[in-house]
């Protein structure tokens, strides 16, 4: 039987909990921040992760990410290759190698028209594999949609994620989920 299928009076065992594949790890809110560290969100309990972001900027800005090792060391020396496409009225493709960060979205500063993003991060905490991130983002005020993949061509074991804008500050919520194989 595949859980969750529960009936009144059922006993929930540790083995049932351990069989749950999608686990909410943590939610954080941030307000007028020029950087958001989510420490210790990647660990050996999960192989892949989902991060959902809802946010807006104090100014028109891009939002970027870097991975972190240890408690809070940002991997600023990593090579982040990104490719994908975005669209407003037409589809635009891009393929950029050797970036200093991953890219989430370009968005505006209207709280009422917040932007959303869904990140899928593959194997960030597993040593000796490349960490890949797929991004789907949407800007509520411009309708700009972006679809990207990032490949980081080093094999570090990451423990956290750093989110930061290129201009001003960001306000919003980030929730990290772990996916167990």
């Amino acid at each position: 039987m595949t859980y969750p299928v529960f009936s009144t009076g059922d006993v929930f065992y540790a083995s049932d909990a351990n069989a749950i594949g999608l686990w909410k790890i943590s939610t954080t809110t941030f307000s007028a921040s020029a950087g958001v560290e989510i420490q210790s969100c990647f660990n050996s309990s999960f192989q892949n992760y989902k991060v959902f972001l809802t946010y807006y900027g104090s100014a028109v800005t891009n939002t970027q990410t870097q991975y972190m090792t240890g408690t809070n060391t940002k991997d600023t020396a990593a090579t982040y290759n990104r490719w994908g496409y975005y669209w407003t009225t037409i589809i635009n493709g891009f393929n950029l190698a050797n970036q200093t960060s991953d890219f989430i979205a370009n968005h505006f500063n209207a709280a009422a028209n917040y932007s959303t993003a869904e990140l899928t991060i593959y194997q960030p905490n597993i040593v000796n594999v490349h960490t890949v991130m797929s991004v789907r983002s949407w800007s509520g005020d411009t309708g700009l949609g972006a679809y990207l993949d990032h490949n980081k061509k080093t094999n570090s074991q990451y423990t956290g994620l750093y989110i930061f804008p290129t201009t001003g500050t960001i306000t919003g919520t980030a929730t990290v989920y772990g996916l167990r194989q």
């Binding site: 943590s26 954080t28 307000s31 020029a34 950087g35 989510i38 420490q39 104090s58 940002k74 201009t167």
Partner: protein, 43 residues
């Protein structure tokens, strides 16, 4: 005044909001960050 950073620890579920350190702020500037129009000083 430097911009603020939000630090959330997913293990302890604790969140700290504070002004960036000199090193953190320099790294932000090195990334090409600009303060925009939110009245944050660009030191």
């Amino acid at each position: 005044m430097k911009p603020q950073i939000t630090i959330h620890n997913a293990e302890t579920n604790e969140t700290v909001v504070r002004e960036m350190t000199d090193d953190e702020y320099q790294a932000l500037l090195d990334s090409g960050w600009t303060p925009g129009d939110d009245n944050t000083d660009n030191e």
